[in-house]
């Protein structure tokens, strides 16, 4: 080879170039073809597409010299009947003309997935799910819409039958009625004849009475199911509703307490940081090693001594009670007048409202069943956030034909300077937005409807400029 090379280098160069050109055209290693032609045929040429045939078909079809792995739809080699119908050798890679998802097929696949999941739920989920009876005390205030919508949406997602008993302080109002009518759930809306007081203590007491009123409705109507207390500012997880199906008579779950810590002093924060990792306080059943109820976790109020909110609009921490009602679950037959129920259950008609904690419903607190893997799973969160008592909001949150003159509220809740927000808590972008919202909000109460759109635009403009500013930062 070297000798030849020395003698006629030009010839080999030309040959090499020609082979390269041919392989480029054929999209195929030409050398392989040559070797196959030259070598002795193997015993299995028939199932193989013989190389000459292959070359022929390629020539006939004038193959587009694209990526060999890709879009060339080579003809499927002839199936021979000798030994195997399936041919050994090189095959084309079939690609359809538009290899992207077909929306019709995607929808069909999603329907299949839904059906399979429903079947799974039927087989492995809760057997014979019982109806859930939700008791919610509420009253009309600025944040009612916020809280009640949250609870409503959680309840709308529950896959079991549901009855929602809404007890409203101050009587039945259109405001609440219009809110809960949007849910599409079966609701029982009753009014309670007292108005909600302005202190947290009074509010807790009244709420307890309202809950008992709800329980009386369960008794009167002989509703059958599982009773839970969903306070309108709590946050419920979907697993809660699956877990409560396991209750026999009287159960308790762990509630995460989100005591609003917006105004905790720096000192308190430091102190806590020194001691240990501040863990979120949890209220609920405590179990011993053998998973039997051993006691209760309650909220430690000591760090907040003296700094708690007394009135609903105080800017201090709101503390929960010792044991929140929302962490307890009852079997509705415990509330009926007749029927077999355990003897440790007190008759709710005999109680008259001044119950300290839900455990007062039972004579012996050790009968409570701990749920949620013995209180280890936190299935709902307790939170109390309220606006000032004198804050106003448009009824049903609809801005009616605007008034020419509106009376500004005496004490605007939002001062002109933006509140000091700790930088680590919220993302930088957000800091800009509250400022904008505050200023425009005081304006909207005075704005005219026709200029509302303009204000919206300005608001968004401000929003984007604010964003840009932060990006530059």
């Amino acid at each position: 080879m070297e000798l030849l090379n020395r003698r006629r280098p030009f010839f080999w160069l030309v040959l090499h170039g020609l082979s390269c050109l041919i392989s480029l055209l054929l999209g195929f290693r030409f050398s392989r073809l040559v070797f196959l032609l030259l070598s002795t045929s193997s015993t299995y040429t028939s199932p193989f597409h013989s190389p000459t045939e292959l070359a022929k078909t390629l020539d006939i079809r004038s193959v587009i010299p694209a990526d060999p792995v890709g879009n060339v739809p080579l003809p499927f080699p002839n199936k021979t009947a000798t030994n195997s119908r399936v041919v050994v050798g090189r095959h084309g890679i079939r690609i359809r003309p538009w290899p992207h998802p077909n929306p019709v097929e995607v929808m069909k696949a999603h329907r299949i997935i839904e059906r399979v999941q429903t079947e799974q739920r039927l087989q492995f989920g809760v057997k014979d799910p019982r109806k859930i009876i939700v008791v919610t005390p509420t009253y009309v205030r600025t944040f009612q819409s916020l809280h009640l919508t949250g609870v409503m949406h959680s309840l709308m997602l529950v896959p079991y039958d549901l009855v929602w008993i809404v007890v409203e302080a101050g009587g039945v109002s259109n405001e609440t009625a219009s809110l809960i009518a949007k849910s599409g759930l079966r609701t029982i809306h009753v009014g309670f004849n007292q108005r909600m007081p302005n202190s947290w203590d009074g509010r807790h007491k009244l709420e307890t009475k309202m809950r008992l009123r709800g329980l009386r409705i369960v008794r009167e109507k002989k509703l059958d199911g599982i009773v839970i207390f969903a306070d309108d500012s709590n946050m419920h997880s979907m697993e809660l509703f699956d877990e409560i199906q396991n209750v026999k008579w009287f159960g308790a779950v762990s509630v995460g307490i989100l005591a609003s810590s917006a105004n905790i002093d720096e000192t308190v924060v430091e102190k806590r940081g020194e001691e240990e990792n501040p863990r979120m306080p949890v209220q609920g059943p405590a179990c011993n090693v053998s998973n039997m109820l051993a006691g209760w976790h309650t909220f430690n109020t000591l760090p907040f001594a003296g700094k708690t909110a007394v009135y609903i609009d105080d800017r201090a921490t709101v503390l929960p009670r010792k044991l929140e009602w929302s962490g307890f679950i009852l079997n509705s037959s415990l509330l009926w007048k007749d029927g077999d129920k355990p003897e440790w259950m007190k008759d709710i008609d005999t109680l008259d409202g001044d119950i300290e904690s839900p455990l007062d419903l039972v004579k012996d607190p050790s009968v409570v069943e701990p749920l949620g893997s013995c209180g280890r799973r936190v299935l709902l969160w307790w939170l109390r956030v309220e606006a000032r008592a004198d804050s106003k909001f448009p009824p049903r949150w609809i801005i009616d034909p605007p008034l020419e003159i509106t009376v500004p509220s005496k004490r605007t809740p939002w001062p002109d300077t933006p509140p000091e927000l700790p930088s680590h808590e919220k993302p930088v972008i957000r800091i800009q937005e509250p400022i904008i919202k505050h200023t425009t909000k005081t304006r909207t109460s005075r704005s005219k409807r026709r200029s509302k759109r303009k204000h919206d635009e300005t608001r968004t403009d401000r929003g984007t400029t604010g964003f840009d500013k932060t990006l530059q930062n």
């Binding site: 195929f28 290693r29 193997s42 015993t43 299995y44 060999p68 792995v69 890709g70 080579l74 499927f76 030994n83 195997s84 119908r85 399936v86 041919v87 050994v88 050798g89 090189r90 095959h91 084309g92 890679i93 079939r94 690609i95 359809r96 290899p99 992207h100 998802p101 077909n102 097929e105 995607v106 069909k108 696949a109 329907r111 299949i112 997935i113 059906r115 399979v116 999941q117 079947e119 799974q120 739920r121 087989q123 492995f124 989920g125």
Partner: protein, 384 residues
């Protein structure tokens, strides 16, 4: 022929036991009807006798000692078959009354550093073993090995080569021509599948699979799942050879489809993901079989078999048509249409059949920790 049937039954049974998890779960399963179900529930104890040759340890134990990875790769069927037979009551110590003879050779245990078996020394090993047994015992020469069976779980069975063309060229080892081969390879009208061969499932580690079970109420949210190679860049750089182009076609057609969760990654959550999928693709690779089938069956994922003319394990007994979905290689571009056009009651029925514990038991190998004798007093084998 009758003997063959018993051997089937034995193999079924051998691959049976100790899947207690499915027993605990909700039995919303369907009994596989027909002869398939009968064979799955059959018990060959007392009616079948297998004699296991005592070969010097250089054929089995020493090889395993040299490389213990052999116990967990997909070719471990030969080792577990040996262990099962040593500890099962079908074993007989009297060769005169035996129906079948088993030669324990671990031919697929010579592994490269990356774990792939080199089959080049296997023919020599097999030949020398047969020479040994034919000289020390008269039973081989009696029938030229017709009542002997060998477990050959390599890519193309007893051809001992991983390339199909070479394997076909070489043909079955001549000395094994009359013996019954128990192999994982199965393809209709292929020379590598002998008349009397029996196809068994490849080995998949049952303990690992059992350890990775997720709660059965986890909703199945992946429509189609596949993890593996689509092209073999080392051996087939241009494509078209590997998997007869079928895997590459799957990739090219469905890489942008969110319903198809396919990629070449090696996730640590492979088993968990399979349990969250409705369909699992089992396309051919260099050979038409793969442990994906076993994994899909165990995790309740409907196998989508893309391998023309393949013969699946225990094809005579298990109604694969009713359990899995067969897609021709030429229909791969229409795979999404094929899968979504299956009516949902059919899919649910397939899932019920898959949930049948005897299905899972048939696909798995028992794990006897010690080769001790078990007594056939109860169906539950304590040796698993």
């Amino acid at each position: 022929m009758r003997k063959c049937l018993w051997l089937w039954g034995l193999l079924f049974f051998a691959l049976g036991f100790a899947w207690s998890i499915t027993a605990e779960r909700n039995p919303c399963t369907e009994r596989i009807s027909g002869s398939a179900g009968d064979v799955l529930e059959d018990d060959p104890v007392g009616r079948l006798k297998v004699y296991v040759y005592e070969l010097p340890s250089k054929y089995n134990k020493k090889i395993l000692q040299k490389d213990p990875r052999c116990l967990s790769h997909m070719f471990a069927a030969e080792i577990f078959m040996h262990r099962f037979l040593l500890s099962s009551p079908v074993q007989t110590l009297n060769p005169e009354g035996a129906d079948w003879f088993y030669t324990p050779i671990y031919a697929t245990c010579d592994l490269t550093p990356t774990g792939l078996p080199l089959p080049f020394k296997s023919p020599r090993m097999v030949r020398s073993a047969i020479q040994l047994i034919s000289s020390s015992w008269p039973y081989w020469n009696r029938t030229e090995g017709a009542d002997h069976f060998f477990v050959v779980p390599h890519d193309f069975g007893a051809y001992f080569h991983y390339q199909e063309e070479k394997a076909i060229e070489r043909g079955i080892l001549p000395i094994l021509r009359r013996a019954t081969l128990v192999q994982t390879f199965g393809q209709r009208n292929h020379v590598c599948l002998n008349e009397g061969s029996i196809t068994i499932p490849p080995y998949a580690p049952p303990q690992k699979m059992r350890a990775r079970q997720i709660p059965p109420d986890t909703p199945r949210s992946i429509f189609v799942y596949f993890r593996g190679l689509f092209c073999d860049v080392n051996n087939d750089p241009e494509g078209g050879y590997y998997a007869r182009g079928a895997r590459a076609a799957v990739w090219e057609n469905f890489k942008s489809n969110p319903l198809f969760d396919i990629s070449t990654e090696h996730p640590t959550t492979y088993y968990e993901d399979m349990q969250r999928a409705i369909f699992c693709l089992c396309p051919l690779g260099w050979a038409p079989w793969s442990p994906r089938l076993v994994e899909a069956i165990v995790f309740g994922c409907i196998p989508v078999i893309i391998a023309d003319d393949t013969v699946l394990p225990f094809a005579d007994a298990i109604p694969w048509e009713e359990i899995g979905v067969f897609v021709a290689e030429e229909d791969v571009p229409k795979l999404d249409k094929i899968l979504t056009s299956i009516p949902s009651h059919v899919i649910l029925r397939k899932q019920r059949l898959l949930a049948n514990p005897s299905m899972k038991r048939a696909m798995l190998f028992p794990q006897p920790t010690l080769p001790r004798r078990c007594f056939p007093s109860n169906i539950e084998w304590p040796c698993s």
